[in-house]
Amino acid sequence: MSDLFLFHLAGLLLLGLGFYGLARRRSLVGMLIALELLLNGAGLSVAASCQLGGGDPVAGQLTSLLIMGLAAAEATLVVAIILVVTLRAGDSNIDSVSELKG
């Protein structure tokens, strides 16, 4: 078993935990936490592929950095959405925002 496969296993563990959390959680904050796990796994896999595979290590590390930046931007927006949903619906449970008016 190569080192690259071992690092990919860690990334896939994060991917599986992220999907599990997304399917299990009913609150927006819980889903955001699961999404961060997913993005962590993506960054780890990209970095491992370029560090230990045949890719350019500089490109791999910078792509991983960009994924971190995207995760920060996504977290900022989701926190704002959670704030609005909480102010309008009273809580951040997705059941309270899944029905349309009318």
Partner: protein, 168 residues
């Protein structure tokens, strides 16, 4: 990796697993956040193991620092009175959640096991100067675009936060 590195790898993997399980299963949101930060520390350890100390530092600063504080704010905004926000009829379907997590991960793991044929024994250590040259040279557009995305996200966040106040 030598045998000592394998032991460190298993330790970090266990940290990721424990943190991830707490992050996805804890009833209280603040405990889930602590689990997420623990998993992020495990991932930082993985970056150190693959000879990428700059990435490990950024992982701690961006994820465990900035994103952790952001999610903490979200937890504070939405704290329920009894802390029982995750209990409900949906928790009676844990098998579907396990399948949602296990199926893609197992499929991709099988693909990686079958198709990864060659890998370097030792990861190269890239000096930070080289990463900086990449950010300001070949990948300058991506670097600028991510700052635009961050600015748009933060401006959108502020606008969304002000919207309700304006209506009152």
């Amino acid at each position: 990796m030598n045998s000592a590195a394998h032991i460190v790898y298993v330790f970090h993997l266990l940290v990721i697993l424990a943190g991830g399980l707490v992050a996805t299963r804890a009833v209280q949101k603040d405990r889930a956040l602590v689990g997420l930060i623990t998993a992020m520390f495990g991932v930082a350890g993985m970056y150190l193991l693959m000879n990428a100390p700059y990435l490990a530092l950024m992982q701690l600063m961006i994820y465990a620092g900035a994103v952790g504080v952001l999610i903490f704010f979200a937890v504070m905004f939405t704290r329920p009175a009894q802390g029982q926000e995750e209990r409900g009829r949906y928790l009676k379907r844990p098998l579907m959640a396990v399948a949602a997590g296990l199926l893609p991960a197992a499929t991709l793991a099988a693909g990686a096991f079958l198709f990864i044929r060659q890998a370097k024994a030792q990861a190269p250590e890239i000096p930070v100067v080289q990463l900086g040259a990449g950010l300001l040279g070949r990948y300058a557009l991506a670097f600028e675009l991510i700052s635009v995305v961050l600015f748009a996200a933060m401006a959108g966040g502020v606008l969304l936060g002000f919207e309700r106040r304006r209506r009152r």
